[in-house]
């Protein structure tokens, strides 16, 4: 079997170790003898390529870089990305990249940046003096049918452990929330919810990178991608995740959550 991973603007949108998500997907393919190619989706890439990849990965960018991306991700490219996600291609958008998928992002200074409008949500910066939302974050995935599918893979409640670091606050309208915050700020520090889920696209402020300590999400993305590609049910072989489990335990213990969540 083989898979291609489309990586959105690797030079521009990879500020917070988000390359880690690409590495996690790549290695878990290699460890299972699945052929994997990483396809950069950047300024030089023709729009067709955006529709030819099996998984889409997007990370965070600094302001200036995000602007360059938004100038490029227009017209045919924007349409191709929309088509891909609407056709159930799995995607993982972390850190700043979910803002791209919403209607707009309103920075603290300067002009509103239009997004793709794919996810019915908006993001706003509350002003330069407002503190950033920074810290370790834990949330439980509640989106349907994602939560059940993840639980089947993981054999336990799909609890995500990550790190958030965002100035903007995101407000969802009709799009489904990804999960419920157990500790941390989440989308806006107000409604106790985190991220968004649309078709097979996961959008979250949580990085760390997201996939390293939450291998069940990695495997879910791979499973979905292979099922789309080969049009049959796929069961991935089990991998040794003892390091990820130890990392999760260490963080939950530090956050005083190990008693509340008896997780893997």
């Amino acid at each position: 079997m083989e898979l291609s991973i489309g990586w959105l603007y690797p030079n521009l949108m990879s500020t917070y170790g988000d390359r880690g998500n690409v590495i996690c997907l790549q290695r878990r393919c290699q460890w299972r003898d699945i052929q994997v190619t990483i396809v950069p989706l950047d300024r030089e890439t023709p729009s067709e390529t955006f529709q030819q990849v099996d998984i889409i990965v997007g990370g965070g960018a600094q302001d200036r870089q995000q602007e360059i991306v938004m100038r490029d991700l227009k017209g045919e490219k924007a349409f191709a990305l929309q088509q891909t996600l609407n056709n159930d291609t799995p995607g993982v958008f972390t850190c700043g990249s979910p803002q791209l998928l919403g209607h707009y992002y309103e920075p603290a200074l300067g002009q509103k940046i239009e997004g793709l409008g794919l996810l019915d949500m908006v993001s706003k910066h509350p002003g330069i003096d407002a503190p950033r939302c920074i810290g370790n974050v834990v949330f439980e995935i509640t989106a349907k049918p994602l939560a059940t599918e993840l639980e089947t893979i993981w054999g336990d409640r799909p609890i995500v452990i990550g790190f958030e670091n965002h100035g903007g606050r995101t407000y969802l309208k009709t799009v489904q929330h990804l999960g419920k915050v157990i500790t941390g700020y989440g989308n806006n520090g107000e409604d106790g919810m985190e991220g968004a889920f649309y078709h097979n696209a996961i959008a979250t402020y949580s990085h760390g990178p997201l996939l390293a300590k939450n291998p069940f999400i990695t495997d879910w993305l791979l499973k979905k991608a292979l099922e789309n590609k080969y049009q049959k049910e796929i069961t991935l072989s089990k991998l040794d995740d003892s390091l990820a489990i130890a990392a999760r335990k260490a963080m939950l213990q530090r956050l005083d959550l190990s008693k509340i969540i008896a997780t893997n």
């Binding site: 170790g17 880690g20 460890w31 002009q111 990085h207 390293a212 390091l243 990820a244 130890a246």
Partner: protein, 476 residues
């Protein structure tokens, strides 16, 4: 100085000295910050009064990586020529740290008797320091992403530097790294007497808007000198992932690199607007270097050029370079029984890429090299450890050997290393996990063969812990 100033200065100095003595007597640390804090409360204009008394001038050293090593080398060069030097050698580089360092050499009468003050300055407080000080020299080494949870973007910092430096008098010499496009552009703007756009700047206008400001009529032009490498044999095979500034700082086009020395430092030009690496005032091929690693070659020629500009003879500088010993935790070497230990501070992606490069260079052809990695996530380290995924740890794991992993975020580092290999089991690689640092150090020393070197790659607070463990005393 007014008599009242003299009295208040004396009071501040006296208090600082008492505090220093108290902190040291009670073994609370090295007193590198607190005395400055307290005495500045007693005398708010303390810093400019101290700066003015330095005989030949103040030298400010800024940059993300290499400040401590470069400042220490420069200090040794000057001291070897008989100059008296004041230096914030503990690495405390915020305002209170600078004040404390100056106060140490100030007499109770308020008289500061020193020839040069070499001050390592945090990149974010340079504008603040320049409000109180007209330095003789500013040495800017590089600008990389450092602590994401604390600091802004590289572009924003460079712009704030330009704004703070451009009003300085023409007696000030600015020495910059030509291989860093952001700094080369800064030098280019300064030597033309340009100031950055006043409001918002590039971040909100888009980068195209920057290259055509009107120069202010009376802006003084500081002398600008560049250092840089001209050694294509040191080029990396490819541009590493952890880069920030491969886009033209003038027009935003992708830069064309003839070769990269480390991160985004290299030989480059812009195919669109013609912006290119500035001409250097130094031929790096003629210079020996301190310690190990390409990054220390930069530190060497930076200090070398500044010393030459001051008027010190090349052969005297080279003599100091050859006898140089590391600053603590920066390629510092220790010996325990029959084993050597080399500590290489690894606090951000660029720094760690370079320490890994230096270590794997040394370990090449060794049968089973031993390396200890210690990852902490305290305030001085940055609380966000995701940066380790921007490090090319593959270079380290592919070489094989024994990697011991410890620190507050032991398992995060362990995962990074596990995910560096495309095979589930690399028979040449052994990952040894020990959360407890004391145990990790013991294990590492145990498995290091006699007469071989154990390399330790810690983050900042981890480096202090490692040293405390090894040397048995506190640094800060």
């Amino acid at each position: 100085m007014q008599p009242i100033d003299r009295i208040r200065l004396g009071l501040a100095v006296g208090t600082a000295k008492t505090v220093t003595k108290l902190v040291k007597t009670l073994n609370l640390g090295a007193a590198s910050v607190l005395p400055g804090e307290i005495s500045r409360r007693l005398h708010p204009r303390l810093l400019p009064l101290l700066f003015k008394q330095v005989n030949y001038g103040v030298i400010l050293v800024v940059g993300t990586n290499g400040k401590t090593t470069t400042a220490l080398l420069l200090r040794k060069i000057l001291e070897d020529r008989g100059f008296k030097v004041t230096h914030n050698s503990s690495g405390a580089n915020l305002i209170n740290g600078l004040t404390t360092a100056l106060l140490v050499d100030t007499k109770i009468t308020g008289k500061l008797d020193t020839d040069y003050a070499i001050l390592e300055v945090d990149e974010n407080i340079l504008p603040l320091v320049l409000k109180d000080c007209q330095p003789q020299y500013i040495l800017a080494l590089n600008l990389f992403r450092d602590q994401l949870d604390r600091y802004g973007e590289v572009d924003t910092i460079a712009q704030r530097w330009q704004k703070a430096i451009s009003p300085l008098p023409s007696e000030t010499t600015i020495i910059l790294n030509a291989d860093d496009p952001t700094l080369a552009y800064l030098g280019h703007q300064l030597s033309k007497g340009l100031t950055p756009p006043s409001k918002g700047g590039r971040a909100t206008q888009g980068f195209e808007a920057t290259s055509n400001h009107t120069p202010l009529a009376c802006t003084p032009r500081q002398k600008v000198l560049f250092f840089g490498l001209n050694e294509p044999q040191l080029y990396l095979e490819e541009i590493p992932h952890a880069v920030d500034s491969i886009y033209c700082p003038s027009c935003g086009h992708l830069l064309d690199y003839q070769g990269v020395y480390l991160s985004h430092l290299g030989d480059y030009n812009c195919p669109s607007c013609g912006f290119a690496k500035s001409k250097t005032a130094i031929n790096s091929q003629e210079w020996p270097q301190i310690l190990i690693g390409v990054y220390n070659k930069y530190n060497t020629i930076a200090a070398g050029l500044l010393a030459e500009t001051i008027g010190i003879q090349r052969e005297d500088i080279c003599h100091t370079i050859k006898n140089f010993k590391a600053a603590f935790g920066r390629a510092e070497e220790l010996t325990i029984d029959d084993k050597q230990i080399r500590i290489l501070l690894s606090k951000n992606p660029v720094g760690m890429n370079e320490t890994i490069r230096a270590v794997t260079d040394i370990q090449k052809n060794k049968p089973s090299p031993v390396t200890l990695l210690v990852l902490n996530d305290r305030i001085p380290d940055g609380t966000d450890v995701s940066w380790i995924w921007d490090v090319d740890t593959e270079t380290l794991t592919h070489q094989g050997g024994k990697l011991i992993i410890s620190g507050d975020r032991t398992y995060d580092m362990a995962l990074r290393l596990k995910y560096s290999e495309s095979l589930l089991e690399n028979p040449n690689l052994e990952l040894i996990i020990q959360e407890n640092l004391t145990q990790a150090i013991s294990t590492a020393l145990e498995i290091t063969p006699p007469n071989e070197t154990l390399h330790i790659l810690p983050t900042y607070s981890a480096m202090l812990e490692v040293r405390e463990n090894l040397v048995g005393r506190k640094i800060l």
